[in-house]
């Protein structure tokens, strides 16, 4: 693989820095355009007795107000169709949309909302996982993954710990709030421009909700101002509200949620409560783990059952556990329906096992890194509890390299000494150090989502348009696909344009999610290029046998020459390397013969010859991830063909991070002093973009681990619904010393170009910040006894840290 393009900027970078990139609300307003807003529930659970909109409708500038009955089909849902687009008789969470308002301006809308009167009759609300468990209020059935006999080996294990963790949710805080503009078209069809990760889902929800067919709705996504999972499912109903207005009024309709409304209405990362028992021997080897995972799904199913699956599939993380049983149950509450967020369920499973390891270390009086290395997946101990072998396993190498490069052992002894001194002398800060790992399974756990398609159009001048189902949210998937196409066709990047994602060009696509955007869509684009390239290669060989004066460019208009025909049928190619057909090489804008590099033709001339010889320059390709088989009911990998076991995942993206924190004994404030991240990202097509994902993902996770505190009223209303109260990391909060490095690994043969997916995995490495806080807390007198371990929720806010430093004192003063 060439080094070129390794550090090419994001394809929109030059636009972004000038403010020229067009986001949804930057689309110019049309003269007759209508502004759309929502009126939502103030109650967590209530019957709607009466809706009075008369006063609101009488406001000058108010055009219309619509309710549930205005949608021919009012239910939607990605997995289960259980969620009303608009609540009708009953509301199930604070923020649940009840009415859609249409007005001439946002100001009128805001006024109108204040004039709407809704009478409710309160119903009992379930607002936490524990309440839901008591009430047996669940979504879907309990799932499990098991190997060996966890129960029995727990009984005989030399050491046993029982514990629990509460993990709060987190807000995506994409900067561009949910938004859509819908233009009514001829014959009742609609053109939808939306900020969504899953245009096909938007198309489906809009058409179904309005009683249309998919063919009647075109959904276009040019780019999103951030998404992080929050626009995977939950962008769809927002577009449907604007679509309803556009269809009813026959006027363009725009909806742009305010940040406050967006945060109140849309779901978050699922909160989790986890109970576990772990058995281990004196050396720290984990003999058995038995864990029960409960998540808060919110009021409707959304993606929560899939999120739970991923949490369970990541409860082993980087560690081999012989006897293993994990159960998972989604709870139904009266909170906003929680949804995908970078990492999906993965971080919750990983957080549990990483905490368990810190606890084992504390019990045995050892450094947690020793316990991690002891239990790490390695030769002979490399089969996961669900039966998939960890191939191309770089975890042991990642651990040992990062231990050395971060100077872990020296810093460990420095910190131990400094903490002892601080305790004796009343010093203000304590420090903590921890290394955690990630082994993130790449593929959707739902097999049918692991498919994608691409349309490649090459024009007579040799310039190329590529369209796929991948959506751009800042991660640079367009730039990566452009790179793959450029390499395949041997063209400079500026000859490739990746087009806005549209359901018109790519049908039945999967969400850009699960870190799979480049894997699936890049592979499909490469396949499409290969088919064109095979034809062009055959054409090249035939052209070179002919006198150039007789080529079509000179003769086609006269019809004096025989037309060249190509017959190339491509065989499925290895996607790991750039393809080659008929001894022809495409490079630097030319096609030449491998055997005779002097014989060459420019790509643009070649394309023109192809056109004139009536050879197609366009191709559409479909790609599916091979070898996937996971039986969700058995919790084990299944067969892809009789006798051949598949995997839950195509491969794993792996990495480690060491974080050092300080905690203030005065205020509980946590500072991240240094983080060293080392990841195996295979062979990146664009290393700069990959590093960008690592840096951004880690910092996003760091916010969840420390300052991002979702705060609800006793009635279930989110009170921290804007950045003045919900604190994502600021520029001061990133690690004071932040080192990111990649491990060279050319062994990921199964994925396109040998790359590895990068979107989500680095977020999980920020768990090292939280475990480092535990590590710092371990040294205070409250936890001197090996059986006392600091209990602290995620996020470790200043208040929680201060409380954990001395729970008794905290209790007394309150």
């Amino acid at each position: 693989m060439s080094e070129k393009g390794k550090f090419t900027p994001h394809d929109s970078a030059v636009l972004h820095v000038q403010g020229l990139s067009e986001f949804i609300d930057d689309r110019p307003r049309l003269a007759n355009e209508v502004i759309v807003g929502l009126h939502f529930s103030e109650k967590a659970h209530a019957r709607i007795l009466k809706v009075d909109t008369r006063e609101a409708l009488s406001l000058p500038g108010m055009i219309a107000i619509y309710g549930a009955t205005d949608f021919p089909h009012n239910l939607w849902g990605t997995i289960f169709q259980d969620q009303p687009l608009l609540a009708d008789k009953e509301v199930q969470f604070v923020g649940e949309p009840i009415l859609v308002l249409a007005a001439t301006s946002q100001t009128v809308l805001d006024e109108a909302r204040k004039l709407i009167r809704i009478e409710y009759e309160d119903l009992p609300a379930i607002l936490s996982v524990s309440e839901a468990r008591k009430a047996k209020s669940f979504i879907g059935s309990e799932r499990f993954i098991a190997r060996g006999n966890a129960e029995k080996s727990l009984k005989v294990a030399p050491h046993r710990i029982e514990g629990r963790i509460e993990i709060q949710g987190a807000e995506h805080f994409y900067l561009e709030s949910q938004a859509a503009v819908v233009y009514p078209q001829e014959n009742g069809s609609l053109e939808v421009h939306t900020s969504a990760q899953h245009p096909t889902e938007v198309q489906h929800v809009v058409s179904h909700g309005l009683g249309l067919e998919s063919k009647d709705v075109v959904v276009v996504v040019k780019r999103m101002g951030g998404a992080f999972g929050g626009k995977e499912s939950q962008a769809a109903p927002i577009a449907a509200y604007a679509a309803l207005v556009a269809r009813k009024l026959g006027r363009p309709a725009r909806i742009v949620l305010s940040k406050d409304d967006d945060m109140i209405i849309t779901g978050k990362r699922n909160p989790f409560e986890i109970e576990y028992q772990v058995g281990f021997d004196q050396s720290g080897r984990i003999l058995a783990l038995d864990a029960a995972l409960f998540s808060d799904g919110g009021a409707y199913a959304d993606l929560s059952t899939s999120i739970m699956e991923r949490a369970m599939l990541h409860s082993d993380n980087a560690y081999f556990i012989e006897n293993f049983r994990v159960r998972g149950q989604v709870c139904k509450t009266h909170m906003h329906p929680h949804t995908a967020f970078r990492g999906f369920g993965g971080p919750k499973g990983v957080l549990m096992i990483e905490k368990v390891i810190e606890e084992i270390a504390h019990r045995l009086g050892r450094d947690a890194l020793e316990i991690r290395k002891l239990n790490c997946y390695r030769d002979g101990f490399d089969v996961t509890p669900y039966g998939q072998r960890v191939e191309n396993n770089t975890l042991p190498e990642l651990f040992s390299r990062c231990e050395a490069s971060s100077d872990y052992q020296r810093r460990r002894s420095d910190i131990t000494r400094a903490n002892q001194r601080a305790l004796v002398e009343g010093g203000e800060v304590l420090r903590g150090l921890s290394m955690t790992a990630v082994k993130f399974g790449i593929s959707f756990t739902t097999r049918f989502l692991n498919q994608g398609n691409a349309l490649v159009n090459i024009y007579r001048d040799g310039s190329v348009q590529v369209s796929t189902g991948a959506t751009e949210m800042g991660q640079g998937v367009y730039a990566r696909i452009a790179r793959i196409v450029a390499d395949e066709l041997g063209l400079p990047l500026d000859r490739i344009r990746v087009m806005a994602t549209s359901t018109e060009k790519n049908a039945n696509t999967s969400p850009t999610a699960a870190s799979s955007g480049t894997d699936i869509n890049g592979a499909a684009a490469a396949l499409a290029c290969q088919q064109i390239k095979a034809r062009l290669s055959e054409l090249v060989t035939k052209l070179f046998r002919k006198d150039p004066s007789l080529w079509a460019v000179k003769t086609a208009g006269l019809g004096t020459e025989l037309e060249i025909e190509v017959r190339s049928q491509t065989q499925p190619q290895d996607l790991f390397n750039v393809s080659s057909f008929h001894d022809v090489v495409f490079d630097e804008g030319f096609a030449s013969l491998k055997s005779d590099p002097k014989r060459r033709i420019s790509f643009s001339d070649l394309c023109n010859e192809a056109y004139l010889n009536r050879i197609s320059l366009s191709e559409y390709a479909h790609y599916k991830i091979p070898n996937l088989a996971f039986d969700k009911l058995k919790g084990q990998v299944g067969e892809t063909a009789p006798g051949i076991l598949g995997g839950a995942f195509l491969y794993f993206t792996q990495g480690v991070a060491v974080s050092e924190v300080s905690v203030s004994r005065q205020s509980g404030e946590v500072k991240v002093l240094r983080s060293d991240v080392l990841m195996d990202l295979g062979r990146p097509v664009n290393e700069a973009l990959d590093r960008g994902q690592v840096c951004g993902g880690f910092v996003q996770g760091l916010g969840w681990m420390t300052t991002e505190n979702l705060f609800y009223s006793p009635g279930g209303k989110l009170l921290s619904h804007s950045p003045s109260t919900y604190k994502i990391p600021s520029i001061h909060d990133i690690p004071r010393d932040f080192r990111i490095d990649l491990l060279a690994n050319s062994g990921n043969l199964v994925n396109v170009r040998g790359t590895k997916a990068v979107g989500e995995p680095p977020l999980l490495l920020a768990i090292s910040v939280w475990t480092a806080v535990l590590d710092a807390l371990r040294c205070v007198p409250s936890y001197t006894a090996p059986e006392n371990f600091p209990q602290i929720k995620v996020p470790a806010t200043s208040e929680r840290v201060l409380e954990a430093l001395d729970p008794t004192r905290f209790k007394e003063i309150g």
Partner: protein, 492 residues
């Protein structure tokens, strides 16, 4: 009296006369919807994320110095408040860049991969543009301080810091050379001499240019909403919590911009911004630090100290600071010829209630900076250290008596976030004044302080947390003071 019914400003060099309902448009709506300048983004509409950052130069009335371009939040100001300034948006940077090239900041952001989704990017570019107007950024910490008011959710900030540190700003023109030329500056100074009497039938906007005009207007309309900078009102209006029918803006009154420093005495007018106040404190290092965690550059460049005081929020950051320094407020009354003076400790009466009587306003604030023998400490505890509303903030001041260093001749313990108003712990102070400082009295003081505070629990912290933090901060301060005998370690 000669006056005008419009406001006048430059927008990317274009002269704008705005009047009627346009005066009350949010500046971002004006830019995006009326002028088609969609590079300025809106995310939070509360001045917390910086996506709306623009540059503004405002020649202060009565001040002949050339103003600099500063970053402000466009989302929380109305068009009327831009009167007599020159604005530059992200679209205006083009004219500062070398021909057919990106501006050096933009070039660095591209080269260092400082943009991912791109939504926050224009705001970051503008904040950096403001910073680089004052000279290159040489250290990561100064970059961070300049970007406190900009949130990014994609990049993890490191690439933006790298970009900022690698900018070669010498290739760009200074904003003033294009957007505040001599004729433009002269024009702005000229319009400042005329008061504004504008608005619509429903909403009035008035800005007197002289003290006499202010007196007349204030007498006539004592209930009109005062605008110093209005950063808090802007948020309240955006969130539907506030709608005024009548604004009285102080922006044309020259005396309100004056800062007088003589010796340790500092006297400053009600339109002095937090940034200017900070500059005035520059010589006293520990005081300057207080501003690093106080709001964002964009807010500090626009909001006033007096506004922070008059707002009377129990968790405002200036009051504990000013309470500890025993600042004095000068109050303008439309009915009296002279200014009324009161110590700030008597200013706060109850939750959001102050000693200001009908028609009155804060005219100026005066204080004395600590001497080297005096101890002053300010601390702010919040969920996130930077750009966050305080959970608890404290300002502590101690002056030793001449004869006995462990006996205070002055002691002021001010705390915010632990009651309905910012407050002084008067009983604790009196106790220590009387008993002096030693292990026993300090311990006793800690428990007396607990009796004087009544914190609530809310989303910024529980009552227990506020109590414990107040105790820890007070204990730390007392331990730093000279004592008859040591408090001993391990108490913390």
């Amino acid at each position: 009296m000669p006056h005008r019914d419009y406001v006048f400003f430059y927008l990317n060099g274009e002269a704008i006369h705005a009047s009627g309902e346009e005066l009350f448009l949010n500046l971002t709506d004006f830019l995006r919807l009326r002028k088609g300048l969609s590079g300025t983004k809106v995310v939070c509409a509360e001045g917390d994320c910086g996506a709306c950052t623009v540059l503004r130069a405002f020649p202060k009335p009565g001040d002949r110095r050339q103003p600099s371009f500063e970053a402000i939040n466009a989302c929380i100001v109305r068009v009327a408040q831009m009167d007599a300034s020159s604005l530059v948006t992200i679209e205006g940077l083009r004219r500062l860049a070398p021909v057919s090239e990106l501006h050096p900041i933009q070039e660095a952001m591209v080269r260092c991969h400082g943009a991912q989704c791109g939504f926050c990017t224009p705001g970051f570019v503008m904040s950096l543009a403001a910073a680089l107007e004052k000279g290159p950024l040489l250290e990561a910490q100064s970059v961070k301080n300049k970007l406190t008011g900009n949130l990014c959710r994609c990049t993890g900030y490191q690439p933006i810091i790298d970009a900022a540190l690698s900018v070669d700003a010498s290739k760009a023109s200074r904003a003033a050379s294009v957007y505040l030329t001599s004729p433009m500056l002269a024009m702005l100074r000229k319009v400042q001499k005329l008061g504004v009497y504008g608005g619509t039938k429903e909403v009035r906007f008035e800005a007197p240019a002289t003290q006499a005009e202010l007196r007349r207007l204030r007498k006539k309309f004592p209930k009109a909403t005062l605008l110093a900078a209005g950063t808090d009102l802007g948020v309240a209006a955006n969130k539907g919590r506030f709608a005024a029918r009548h604004f009285l803006s102080l922006h044309l009154l020259a005396p309100l911009y004056k800062i007088k420093a003589s010796g340790r005495a500092l006297h400053f007018g009600a339109r002095v911004t937090l940034s200017e106040f900070r500059q005035a404190l520059e010589g006293t290092p520990s005081l300057g630090e207080f501003f690093n965690v106080f709001a964002s550059p964009q807010i500090k460049n626009f909001a006033t100290v007096a506004g922070n005081v008059a707002n009377a929020s129990p968790i405002a950051d200036a009051p504990p600071f000013l309470l500890a320094l025993d600042a004095e407020l000068e109050i303008f009354s439309p009915r009296k010829a002279s200014l009324r003076k009161i110590p700030i400790k008597d200013f706060y009466l109850a939750y959001k209630e102050t000693d200001l009587r009908e028609g009155e306003l804060i005219w100026a604030i005066s204080l004395k900076l600590p001497t080297p023998s005096e101890r002053f400490s300010f601390a702010k505890i919040s969920q996130r250290r930077d750009l966050d509303i305080s959970c608890v903030n404290v300002g502590f001041f101690f002056r030793p008596s001449a004869k006995n260093a462990s006996r205070p001749s002055a002691l002021r313990l001010a705390v915010g976030g632990v009651g309905p108003t910012p407050l002084r712990l008067l009983q604790t102070e009196a106790f220590l004044m009387k008993e002096g400082l030693n292990a026993r009295t300090c311990k006793e003081a800690l428990s007396r302080a607990q009796a004087e505070i009544k914190p609530l629990s809310d989303l910024r912290g529980s009552s227990a947390y506020r109590r414990l933090v107040t105790q820890n901060l007070l204990e730390k301060f007392l331990r730093s003071l000279p004592q008859e005998e040591s408090l001993g370690a391990g108490q913390l």
